[in-house]
Symmetry: C2
Subunit: 299 residues, 2 copies
Amino acid sequence: MSVLIVGSTALDSIKTPKTENPRLLGGSASHAAVAASFFSPVNMVGVVGEDFPKEYLKLYRKHGIDLAGLQIKPGKTFHWSGEYELNMNNRRTLLTELGVFETFSPELPKAYQRTPFVLLANIAPALQHHVLDQSSGAKFVVADTMDLWLNIALGDLIKLLKRVDGFVLNDSEAQQLTKEDNVFNALKKIHQMGPKYVIIKQGSHGSILSGPKGLFICPAYPLKQVVDPTGAGDSFVGGMMGYLASARGSLDANLRRAMIHGSVVASFCCEGFGVNRTTKVKRADIAKRVKELEQLTRF
Amino acid sequence: MSVLIVGSTALDSIKTPKTENPRLLGGSASHAAVAASFFSPVNMVGVVGEDFPKEYLKLYRKHGIDLAGLQIKPGKTFHWSGEYELNMNNRRTLLTELGVFETFSPELPKAYQRTPFVLLANIAPALQHHVLDQSSGAKFVVADTMDLWLNIALGDLIKLLKRVDGFVLNDSEAQQLTKEDNVFNALKKIHQMGPKYVIIKQGSHGSILSGPKGLFICPAYPLKQVVDPTGAGDSFVGGMMGYLASARGSLDANLRRAMIHGSVVASFCCEGFGVNRTTKVKRADIAKRVKELEQLTRF
């Protein structure tokens, strides 16, 4: 089955103490769509400007990502620039130019409206609502978010949580949303806000799922070198949704392995700038790391 | 088989925003010995003063802990006092009175010298060396440590690492010791210092083993309430060594399950002040949480 992914499509300029990497393919939808594409057909909804490099359109297509929902508008593509410290944990934003993203209104081509799996990747909650309004055939909807929306669009986000099946956020966002230091208490409070499935991402410590079948502690793949963690969270949730859409059987039975596959795709994402490493990955590379994670956690 | 445990035996006064808990049974050897006692006979080596409450000696004995190696000296028992913040993550030391611990020289009763499993719980590296000098029958030696010894006795610690089979430390100590932010690179560097097995503890994120059979990602048991984390690391390594001493078959085959059992005993430790919760645990309670951890990590 297919996955519908809506989110940001951007150019990312990423500085580290060692290198500068201007105008990489970035944005939550780009990372999530590439990650999902290893498992399922992807319908992507986003917007780019006329300056968007043709090679990036080719890259999407090479991954079988359907671009009927990608608007190309007069103006500039959303451009984000950030700088990482040496340990790759702390980053600061140097520049944000919204460009055509400022007036973006996601419109679903008719063929997308019945896509069963819907990933509302990180984007303003109002736009996530707008996509849901058009997703008449959605069977399983997951939303991602970021701290920005907790700060400036909390009301919209709270309303969104009543409309989605699953919600993904990181540990500091979960703490901000629930005022709970303890991750398990935070999970409980977020369930009370609506979603049946809640996943809290913990960076290099993996992630935790809470759902009707209880908790799942999902490991991160051990990485000796993190080149650029930008987009790792988007890759995780994209890979997870792609895997879910491809798997037979009950959702509860598939969700753990879906998270493991998302975790593995996210590990590749961290090993290169932008999508440089992820786009070179083969299904066999993913399968190998999944097997390794099985070995690393068995007792 | 038996475990020999040497470490501190102390009275801990622990303040939290809600309560004060004076003169609890504490110290690395106490926590580790109680934890190990669920699985194996324990020979404990330590020192207390004449003020040491008789009820605590009874408590050790109730756990089958052999006290032939516990010196009772004129003077006061080592007394540590600390205060936790509301989130139970940050603590500060209010007071340290070494008492009889200041001149402690661990002496192994003859019967202890051939104990096959030796845990050098957190204590000055010079004393850990002194115990090893007497442990003629040791088959598997593990050392724990703390940041204090990295700061004031690094030379002794480095020498110790060449004499032990396993070394346990937490993530910030590993970073301090190796100057490596990345935990997997830190593991590699610590192996180069000597130990065949290295375990890095990551608090509520569990722990990671690196050994001849590769890595093992060991989860922490999910806790909704942490009452007092003091001694959790000691309980982890104590439970692990107790389990190892009790298990048949090869060490490599047992080590993963040993860590899981240590992790579970540590979870109980966190649920009460001092050893209050741990000493009420039954083997069946441990087995139940081990089963839960299997369920929580399976995919």
